[in-house]
């Protein structure tokens, strides 16, 4: 492969990632704007949701989700820096995979708690919004986890290019932003 072709591919991958992220932003923003519109238009949905007892039951989900996502972001950054310097990769490259699994598991646990408390999706628009917003995020995180797993597997021979890891890091950054938006908009406002 000539250097010119390689540079083209990197440029295309960069552009493709930004476009993909832009599309994801629009998707999550649309879901989120639906939540905002419903909540703003509701006369019975004025109490901060944080005050509801069920929210306290799923606090571990909020905390663990945040930690896992920060971990995935930071670790992918370290992974990229190691790849850039040619340093040998460690078991740490598997951490994004673990983080994604952690988020999925935490979400399952929280959803289970919601269902047991009688706050399933059909109970209210508030509960339905929680399921859709956090569920869409969990799917996004799972998708990122699958890509990270694939690349970690390839990386046993240090094959994952630096620009690919930079793109993965951007993806985790977006997931973090989406998650913080959900936490702020749904739990604290």
């Amino acid at each position: 492969m000539t250097p010119g072709v390689d540079a083209r591919r990197t440029r295309a991958a960069d552009a493709g990632t930004w476009l993909f992220l832009a599309s994801l932003v629009m998707f999550y923003a649309s879901l989120y704007s639906g939540y905002v519109l419903l909540r703003a238009g509701s006369e019975t949905w004025t109490t901060p949701w944080l005050a509801r007892p069920i929210l306290w039951k799923i606090q571990p989900f909020v905390v663990s989700n945040t930690l896992w996502l920060v971990l995935a972001f930071v670790n992918t950054r370290q992974w990229r820096l190691a790849a850039a310097s040619g340093a040998p990769r460690s078991i740490g490259v598997w951490l994004p995979t673990m983080a994604a699994s952690g988020v999925a598991l935490a979400w399952t646990g929280a959803a289970d708690a919601m269902l047991k408390a009688g706050s399933g999706p059909a109970a209210s628009v508030a509960a339905a919004s929680w399921f859709v917003l956090t569920g869409a995020l969990a799917l996004g995180v799972l998708g990122g986890g699958l890509v990270a797993t694939w690349w970690a597997w390839r990386d046993r021979r240090s094959e994952t290019p630096v620009h690919a890891l930079r793109q993965l890091q951007r993806y985790w950054g977006l997931m973090l932003v989406v998650w913080f938006s959900i936490v702020v908009g749904m739990y604290f406002v």
Partner: protein, 548 residues
């Protein structure tokens, strides 16, 4: 999958598949136009084809009629015209026009096509489900859509798949334009068609997610019992619905039109691009004010994302919001007028060759103009109050999409057929196709403006038989239906021409002496497109420099 990774094979696959869906959408239209022309009269052999449940004694039931209407719109927009304009033309010609050996992400492009095919088959197969296909219109407004039969669920899944397909295709196309342009091909040297495709892809990428989000909400309402779009206290046939309520049906309309209005530009922008290519090559003229046109197409794409709520002027929105959307709607016509004006002025002083491609391109200009101008009264609250939900609306958007975009697509086929096959389409058959299509299309859609102004509602199963105001218009419906049949017959001429010409047409490498890059390689192009990677040294249209 392997062969689909070649952009030319991919483009042809899109063209063939969307062509089949176009025929399906057309046949659905013929069926419900029969009902409109002769309400309650049996259609021969309808029972044998659609069964007693849909057409007892050959008479279409209202439930089935609404399935035909909803699926006609969905199939034509999502499965036929957009994939033809973007998937087929974009995949095939954009890499050629920028001097690239292929798409940047060929597997993404192929995956996008396979998802589109699967979604299309799924949506088409929903006719055999109990309760039939989706029947809440292509707009799928709740609460009606949430209470509809299981075909609506399939429609929503199809839309989600089409959204992913659009995203994959758009990423592949845009990344190709960004990274795979030939040396020397700066942004301001790109053929206008490439600009139009880039803006279209960007619109699909940014607007479709809103409909996907809406589809997720509606799917949840249908399968998980949520109430995103169901208000409290909703009752059907005096029976309160057993749902929590608290939702808002207008949320769907906001999210839907956030996609569906830019979708109109997704249909129009590639058409503008095609017409620009055809007019420059067949009038031997450089595009007039190329830079201005590029600015206009970018502005049109961007502006199209802030006009969506003009579809909702009668939903009780505040005066401030309504005024905002009325102003943005009027303003969006400015770049449209710039584009049309530039195309018309390009003709000035040209050595016009009245080929079939040119005839279709020239016909596009007034047809699109008529569609655009008739949209202005719909974008203003007071006139919208009168015209909303009437046949006027149907006439308006069909002039944009049918004689508008479709004529541009026909122009593209006649112009680029030699590039794809190495042979020209027969011009005599082409002229018959053009004249027949021009007359019959107008005969179908022009009366709709009058029907709308007279107040005939667009959604009536019996064409307004029960209403005095519709009575004078009833006699027009048979003529419109026969015109639609004749339109179909003229398309048969087109199909015969393509099949015959692909084998026996006059061999041609560059019959139009066009100067854009796709003609700088052999016809059809070889694998890898160019034997020697091209280097660009000037503007795409050089018809007045003696270089053609």
């Amino acid at each position: 999958m392997t062969r689909l990774t070649d952009h030319k094979t991919l483009g042809i696959a899109y063209a063939n598949t969307s062509g089949v869906f176009m025929v399906v959408g057309f046949l659905l239209m013929l069926l419900f136009r029969w009902q409109l022309a002769w309400p309650g009269q049996p259609i021969p052999i309808a029972t044998a084809i659609f069964g007693e449940t849909n057409a007892p004694g050959g008479i279409l039931l209202p439930e089935f009629y609404y399935q035909l209407v909803a699926m006609h719109g969905s199939v034509m927009i999502f499965l036929a015209v957009v994939p033809m304009a973007v998937g087929a033309l974009g995949s095939y010609f954009v890499p050629l026009q920028i001097g690239a050996p292929g798409l940047a992400f060929p597997r993404l492009g192929a995956a996008g096509y396979l998802l589109y095919l699967a979604a299309g088959l799924l949506m088409a197969a929903s006719f055999v489900l109990p309760g039939g296909a989706a029947n809440s219109g292509w707009t799928s407004y709740p609460p009606l859509a949430i209470l509809a039969s299981s075909g609506q669920t399939v429609w929503l899944v199809g839309i989600l798949m089409l959204g992913v397909s659009s995203m994959l295709g758009a990423i592949s196309l845009l990344a190709t334009i960004v990274a795979y342009r030939a040396p020397g091909l700066t942004l301001m040297r790109l053929p206008f068609f490439v600009w139009s495709q880039a803006m279209t892809a960007l619109l699909l990428l940014l607007a479709f997610p809103a409909l996907q989000a809406a589809a997720v909400f509606q799917l949840m309402d249908r399968v998980a019992g949520t109430s995103f779009f169901l208000p409290s206290g909703l009752a059907v046939s005096n029976t309160p619905l057993a749902v929590s309520g608290g939702g808002n049906p207008l949320l769907w309309q906001h999210l839907f039109w956030f996609l569906a209005h830019p979708e109109v530009y997704v249909l129009i922008l590639p058409a503008m691009g095609v017409v620009a290519e055809v007019i420059t090559a067949h009038a031997r003229r450089t595009l007039w004010r190329y830079g201005l046109m590029v600015g206009a197409v970018v502005a049109l794409g961007a502006w199209s994302m802030v006009v969506w709520a003009h579809h909702m002027l009668l939903t009780g929105m505040s005066t401030t919001l309504s005024s905002f959307f009325q102003i943005t709607t009027m303003a969006v016509s400015v770049p449209s007028v710039i584009l049309i004006t530039s195309l018309v002025v390009t003709l000035w002083g040209g050595a016009i060759r009245y080929t079939t491609a040119m005839c279709f391109a020239l016909a596009f200009l007034p047809m699109f103009g008529l569609g655009g101008v008739t949209g202005l009264p719909l974008g203003l609250g007071p006139s919208n109050l009168i015209l909303h939900d009437t046949y006027y609306v149907i006439g308006h958007f069909h002039y944009l999409v049918a004689p508008g975009t479709m004529f541009a697509l026909f122009a593209a086929v006649y112009h680029w057929f030699p590039k794809v096959t190495g042979r020209r389409l027969d011009e005599r058959l082409g002229l018959v196709h053009f004249l027949g299509s021009f007359v019959t299309m107008n005969a179908v859609f022009l009366p709709m403006f009058l029907m709308g102004i007279m107040g005939v509602n667009r959604r009536m199963y019996d064409a307004g038989l029960q209403y005095q105001l519709a009575e004078p218009t009833l006699v027009w419906n048979p003529h419109m239906t026969w015109s639609a049949v004749a339109l179909g017959v003229f398309q048969l001429v087109f199909v015969v021409n393509m099949v015959w010409s692909a084998k026996r047409g006059v061999p041609a490498e560059n019959p139009w002496q066009a100067t854009t890059l796709e003609w700088a390689t052999s016809s059809p192009p070889p694998a890898g497109n160019f034997a020697v990677p091209p280097v660009v040294t000037g503007a795409p249209y050089r018809y007045e420099e003696g270089q053609a």
